[in-house]
Amino acid sequence: MKNIRFKNLFSLVAVGLILLSSCTKDLNHIPANSVFSDSVYSNAAGYKTALANVYAGYVLTGITGPGTSDIQGVDAGTSDFVRCLWNVQELTTDEAVCAWGDPGVPDFHNMSWTSTDPILIGLYARCTYQITLCNSFISHCSDAELASHNITGDDAAAVQEFKAEARFLRAFQYAVLMDAFANPPFATDSDAIGPLSFPKQIKRADLFNYVESELLACSSSLAAPHQNEYGRADQAAAWALLARIYLNAEVYTGTARYTDAITYSKKVIDAGYSLMPSYANLFKADNNVNNSEVILAIPYDGINTQTYGGTTFLVNSACVNSTYAAGSPGYAMSTADYGVPGGGWGGNRSTANLPNLFPTPDTTVDKRGIFLNSPGVTEVITSISQFNQGVPVNKFTNLTSQGVEAEPNAGGTFCSTDFPLFRLAEQYLIYAEAVLRGGSGGDATTALGYINLLRQRAYGNSSGNIASSDLTLPFILDERGRELYWEGFRRTDLIRFNEFTSATYLWPWKGGVQSGTGVDSHYNIFPIPITDLQSNPNLTQNPGY
């Protein structure tokens, strides 16, 4: 008995010692179905999927479906790039007003936003998130890292092209931050990601120089115009963005750059793009097919690329199922007519000012006026929260150019329409405006010709053509409204024409007053969101907030 006992005791102690010494490695767990950066960036194909992640930064809200988000402080479905940008650029203007009381939304049209606005938090976080993805991607493109993975020859060249695209996207997002927030924090691929650090703030003019230099530098490594895959940036995208920031340079830096705007818009115009014959088809669900006009678009798909933002937001927020009854407010509308039979969120429509830019508030004369003009539509908005007051805008639709719902299996809400970030028409307008504003290197006759190309498409013939005497700066602003409305330009345009905050141009409910009122000029720039201001002591709030 005694021997057995001691043997047992010995076993216990021995087992105990084994346990004590052998288990610390059990604390190293790795999540299922995951990888680390060395396998993501192990070959050229891996770099391409990593590039897809960089682009996903402005396409999606999150990586595991439309209800998820990469960023917080804003509702997940609202957190994609286009939805945030659109709210900021359009709801603040005459072109759009939203019926919803969702946090931050009413403040845009009322011009009373603050640094806690969730959608401002969202746009800021979205831009800086995609910049971080770009910085991370670029930092993996060093010669040393490529060599360590034996990526050489054509593969290495392809990676350099990917890197140029990441630099373009980073410059694009810094340009958005420069336009909206003026003085954002700043970090590049040489800054570490992960450890707690406090990026320095950059001044708007310095950021302009950075964006310009990056675009100039990366454009030589980008694919030639039309030579990249659909959905990816090429040289023309970099030139188009340069033209856009040069047009607004005076606002950003105090120094006009109209000559450069002419130079770069001309480079795009001469790169082989042509206007799509049908204006309406630019905003339909098959606008990814044979699109001769678009330079860079954000592609969506009702099944494979789902988000509650993007064009799904633009289409659904602008329609609702409703019926018309004589004597009652409201009009007949069916969401099925916009390719979203399962959707229709009844939020966004226009104030009277937008249709008033057109000869008639519909497509009968100018085909760009895609408004509902039927019994019950009333331009007058007495209560912003009533969707059936104001003018319905149905420019974006989930129907194809053949008039059928794009992807019925998607459930009738998610849209397949792509959102144009850069298209030829804007470059025509930049060219003309830069000439009118005194830039050199272009001429008024060419400018008039470009504008009349837009007019001919809009009217179907030359009846809408204008004479050289008609080509004035106010005309350009109105023509930009007619051509580019709801595409995310309006706030920037009004600021460039000094009509955004001033009382010289009013629209219904501007400044929270039905007849419209001017507001303080500090609203030309958005506040740095409180979430970042409180976590980064290097930031100073913009003036007036």
């Binding site: 043997k7 047992n8 087992v15 105990g16 346990l19 004590l20 052998s22 288990c23 610390t24 059990d26 767990h29 790795i30 999540p31 299922a32 995951s34 680390f36 391409k48 897809a52 682009y55 990586i63 595991t64 479906g65 402080g73 919803w100 009381g101 969702d102 976080a125 800086t128 971080t132 910085n135 954002p184 924090p185 970090a187 990601i193 992960g194 450890p195 707690l196 650090s197 406090f198 895959e229 659909y230 592609p299 798909d301 494979n304 609702v320 199922n321 409703s322 009652s328 407010p329 959707g343 229709g344 009844g346 929260s385 009533q386 299996n409 929270g512 970042d532 409180q534 976590s535 002591p537």
Partner: protein, 983 residues
């Protein structure tokens, strides 16, 4: 881990032989000295040995004792021990009841102690004090029984579980759940599903650091130690316990009646809207609720087989929910065996519990829809498109996409079946060394495994799963996941009395290993016709996750002269949730106890029978509740609806979530000062404690500087939170005589906690100004109603201050302009206003016994807690009734107070005082005693649960954890008839 080798060694140990050594047989009867009734389950032990038995149901016992045995020790919970000389072969003993025995065993971490020697703040609740009635989940047994422990059930759905908070909690984004330890095996989280409450003997609630620090790793929010019932040697005792319950909802959520609704639409609606009114008068809440029946049957056999105590029990529970279609059935089995081997040097405890739970869970969305569905519509319609149910349509075939759905159809066209198999248990070896009996080695191997499977079917013609493509209508989905929790604990315990220096030493040193593995199968989604839903292809067929903790710990308790007790403990834990350089945390504690009544000046006092001072300080850690891998910079694949289009080819991609490589343990330092007291021979006992908890390295999800991480918000160690309060409880016997007794118990807790820092920035301005929006509400997109704000309770409401008219009613859209700038804007005019957490909680229990009758009740109160009435804020507005897009919705009756046209989500009007007084339980029991000698003992009881609620809150139930009311599943009033027979 080399568990297999370990088991082999242990099997060797077990392979010994039982030894028999009986010399003479003693028999007898044990009775209650006051009532003369025989006492069952009294422990009879031969003094100085471990030979023992227990009395049978009729109080009789029979025991074989060695020829040289002198005395028997007779003991029973609630009675004073008695030592009886073995003077004859027939012994008659009467035991005297004591109110709260100082010798009651108290379960502490890694051992037991007695009530008189407890060093920490520990509350014990055992069988006789449990809540009565139809209790189907263990935690409900102690609701309202312990000061500072709040148990809020998640509503009345069968199997719904509860939120448990001990002294309010110490964390923000990490878990605030206490650690649950069953028979020495820590569970992963608070998961009582499938555990039979009838198998539980007692709860020990460890509140202060002196008690909890030995569980360092997960003890910041307190520890609840559960001991299951076990057998005692003696002849088998069979107990059959049956209950039959009837449940009905207490109160419907108050809404407009059909005629009030019709009047509103007629007077304010457009002609289109008036035309949408129906002719019916439907009480939708009445349509969705039922009178629910529950039966619960328990059979247990406990006794000793060849001196091996055992207990076997089985349960069959069949519980209907008050919501139509809700049903839960549970079969539970448990086996407990506690043999001694090697001359009683090795004690083995085997606990095995298993259960199978089959439930059909109703679509609880029907509860909110029943509040808001148009009462002028009937349940059924002539249009058969949706199975004959009335639904709002845009045309003859399409349901209105934005409208609510027929509540009855939501229930009847939805069938979610769940099957849960769970088993947990442990085998514990306690070995007393042959050459050094003061030293014990204890090995505890535990497991908890569960498998969850189920299906969800929605009819093809259900509006709730409508799709414009006919083949994609309805649902036919399934799920599968399982969980494995493995526990190994090994410790050495040395206890030594050293009379020469009046000292006692009790030391332990141990090691623990805890591993959890979660496994999940990912399925496609299917329509009712089993067509694949587009985009539902899972990226991977399966997924899993793991978390592991390793611990080393030690504790020394030194007692001098039976009066002064010093305790010190230290524990170090490593967690897989943290990186290698940060994963080990050290958690020390110390405590001093002074048994004042042992001093000469009190020793002979007739008034003070017990007085003890307890002082303790300790640090505990927290890492539960945060993501498993947030320190790692890993990449995860995007889902199939989240692809990127390059040239019309869709790409899945790898994406890095945000990460914090330097994440580390959250730490809570707790200071506790308390008294335990007893007066008048312990007819009055109680305790009072003051505590102060300071949490540092708080794990909180905070915003980080833009451009520094893959995301703008992540879990980091920031800031601090403090939590302080008072617990007090007192129990007393008001009257006790032969036929009549009256006992009362009262407890009270005050708790106050606030955030003291929340920013990653060290900038003092940023530290003070951080506000993190939390508490998402229904209505609109992305609205929140609460904030985490420095200097305030977490989850304080953040609202606009409503202005009332001269009639006392709120004026729509009129708020106090806090910054006096002439306009109402957020956040400038928002105020921090009230908290959802009650600073004051009270519990009151009383029991009256008269002869064979007893009457008992439990009252519980909560004072100072507020609830945001989201049902009212979201739906009690005219605009919601007269929805402009083609349907009507009903509204809560509070619409008639406000007549708000538009939603005023941020109005302080909706933050209501939800203080309440509830009678949880009122019961009467009849102890029929022994119907004839040596036959069976019968107990009958009739109980009512959720007897009444006193509150000013305007919704259906003020008790809402988190403070945002979106119509809780009603906690029904339950009438239970029970019978218990013991053979």
């Amino acid at each position: 881990m080399n568990l297999r080798r370990l088991f082999m060694s242990l099997l060797l140990l077990v392979a010994g032989s039982f030894s028999a050594f009986a010399q003479k047989t003693i028999s007898g009867v044990v009775t209650d000295s006051a009532t003369g009734r025989p006492l069952p389950a009294v422990s009879i032990i031969v003094q100085g040995t471990r030979t023992g038995t227990q009395t049978a149901a009729d109080g009789t016992f029979k025991i074989s004792v060695p020829a040289n045995a002198v005395n028997l020790v007779i003991s029973s919970v609630g009675y004073a021990n008695k030592i009886v000389p073995i003077s004859s072969e027939n012994i008659f003993v009467s035991l005297t009841q004591i109110n709260a025995s100082l010798n009651d065993v108290v379960v502490i971490g890694y051992g037991t102690t007695t009530k008189k020697e407890v060093t920490g703040s520990i509350a014990t609740v055992s069988t006789k004090d449990f809540q009565k009635g139809s209790i189907t989940s263990p935690e409900q047994l102690i609701a309202g029984k312990v000061a500072g422990v709040s148990i809020t059930s998640n509503g009345g759905q069968p199997g719904a579980g509860s939120v448990i908070r001990i002294r309010g909690g110490a964390s923000l984004n990490a878990s605030n759940d206490p650690l649950i330890v069953i028979d020495g095996v820590p569970l992963d989280g608070v998961d009582f599903q499938g555990i039979n409450p009838n198998d539980i003997e007692s709860f020990s609630i460890l509140k202060d650091a002196a008690a909890t620090a030995i569980y360092g790793s997960r003890a910041s929010n307190g520890v609840i130690m559960i001991t299951t019932k076990r057998g005692r040697s003696g002849k088998p005792m069979i107990n059959f316990n049956t209950q039959f319950s009837v449940s009905k909802i207490q109160k419907e959520y108050p809404v407009l009646s059909a005629s009030q609704f019709k009047n509103l639409v007629d007077s304010l609606g457009t002609q289109t809207q008036i035309d949408q009114l129906g002719d019916a008068n439907t009480d939708w809440q009445k349509e969705i609720y039922q009178t629910a029946l529950t039966t619960d049957n328990n059979l247990s056999i406990a006794g000793g087989f060849k001196n091996v105590p055992y207990r076997i029990s089985g349960e069959y529970l069949n519980q209907q929910g008050v919501l139509l279609t809700d049903n839960l059935q549970r079969e539970a089995l448990s086996l407990v065996v506690s043999p001694y081997l090697f001359d009683k040097h090795l004690k083995i405890d085997i606990n095995l519990h298993g259960s199978n739970t089959d439930s059909r869970t109703a679509n609880t969305g029907a509860i909110g829809n029943a509040v808001s569905f148009d009462p002028t519509q009937s349940v059924y319609s002539d249009n058969k498109t949706f199975g004959g149910y009335f639904e709002w349509m845009t045309n003859d075939t399409t349901p209105q996409p934005l409208s609510n759905r027929n509540p009855v159809a939501l229930l009847k066209q939805y069938d979610a079946e769940n099957h849960a198999l769970r088993s947990f248990g442990n085998i514990q070896f306690d070995y007393k060394f042959h050459f050094l009996p003061d030293l014990h080695a204890n090995l505890n191997l535990g497991y908890d495994v569960a498998k969850y499977t189920g299906t969800t079917n929605v009819s093809v013609n259900a509006a709730q799963s409508y799709n414009s493509v006919p083949s994609l209508r309805g649902q036919d989905n399934q799920y599968y996941n399982n969980h494995t929790n493995k526990v190994l604990e090994f410790y050495l315990n040395y206890t030594k009395d050293i009379p020469s220096i009046k000292s006692n030493i009790n030391a332990i040193a141990g090691y623990g290993y805890y591993d959890d593995h979660y496994f999940n199968r990912n399925y496609y989604s299917f329509s009712a016709s089993h067509d694949t839903m587009p985009g539902s292809k899972p990226s991977y067929p399966t997924s899993f996750s793991d978390v592991t903790l390793l611990s080393y710990y030690g504790r020394l308790i030194y007692t001098f002269n039976g009066k002064y007790i010093l305790m010190g403990s230290i524990r170090t834990d490593g967690s897989s949730r943290f990186g290698p350089d940060y994963r080990w945390g050290v958690f020390p504690s110390g405590a001093f106890t002074w048994r004042i009544n042992q001093e000469d000046f009190l020793k002979n006092s007739n008034v003070v029978s017990d007085l003890k001072l307890r002082l303790s300080y300790g640090i505990t850690g927290q890492q539960d509740g945060i993501p498993f891998y947030s320190y790692l910079n890993y990449y995860a694949l995007s889902g199939n609806t989240s692809q990127v289009d390059f040239g019309n080819n869709y790409y899945n991609f790898f994406n890095p979530p945000p990460f914090a490589a330097d994440l580390q343990w959250e730490q809570t330092a707790t200071t506790d000062a308390g008294f335990d007291f007893g007066f008048a021979k312990n007819r009055i006992t109680g305790s009072a404690d003051y505590y102060y908890k300071k949490t540092s390295h708080l794990l909180a999800s905070v915003f980080v500087p833009a451009l520094t991480n893959f995301g703008n918000k992540l879990t980091r160690n920031v800031g601090n939170m403090t939590d302080k309060g008072v617990d007090f409880n007192i129990n007393g016997t008001v009257i006790r005589n032969k036929n009549f007794s009256w006992d009362v118990g009262f407890n009270f807790a005050y708790n106050e906690f606030k955030i003291t820092n929340l920013s990653v920035s060290q900038d003092s301005l940023a530290k003070a100004a951080s506000n993190i929006a939390v508490g998402g509400i229904a209505g609109g997109t992305g609205n929140t109603i609460q904030v985490l704000s420095v200097g305030y309770n977490p989850y304080t409401f953040y609202v606009l201050q409503q202005v009332l008219g001269s009639n006392g009613k709120p004026i729509e859209g009129l708020y106090v302009d806090q910054d006096r700038n002439g306009t109402i804007t957020q956040p400038n005019d928002l105020i921090l206003y009230k908290s959802p957490y009650a600073p004051f909680t009270f519990g009151f229990t009383t029991a009256i016994n008269y002869k064979k009758w007893s009457l008992n009740t439990v009252l519980r109160a909560s004072v100072g807690n507020y609830v945001y009435n989201n049902v009212a804020s979201n739906t009690a507005v005219v605009r919601n009734v007269l929805n402009p897009v083609g349907f009507l919705q009903n509204a809560p009756s509070s619409l008639l107070n406000t007549y708000f046209y538009n939603n005023q989500f941020f109005s302080s009007y909706y933050v209501e005082n939800a203080s309440f007084l509830k009678m949880d339980n009122l019961g009467i029991a009849y102890d029929a005693g022994y119907l004839s000698k040596h036959s069976y003992h019968l107990n009958l009881s009739l109980n009512c649960q959720n007897v009444f609620t006193v509150t000013k809150y305007s919704g259906s139930d003020p008790e809402i954890y988190g403070g945002i009311d979106n119509v809780i599943y009603p906690r029904p009033r339950v009438f239970t008839l029970g019978a218990s027979i013991t053979f």
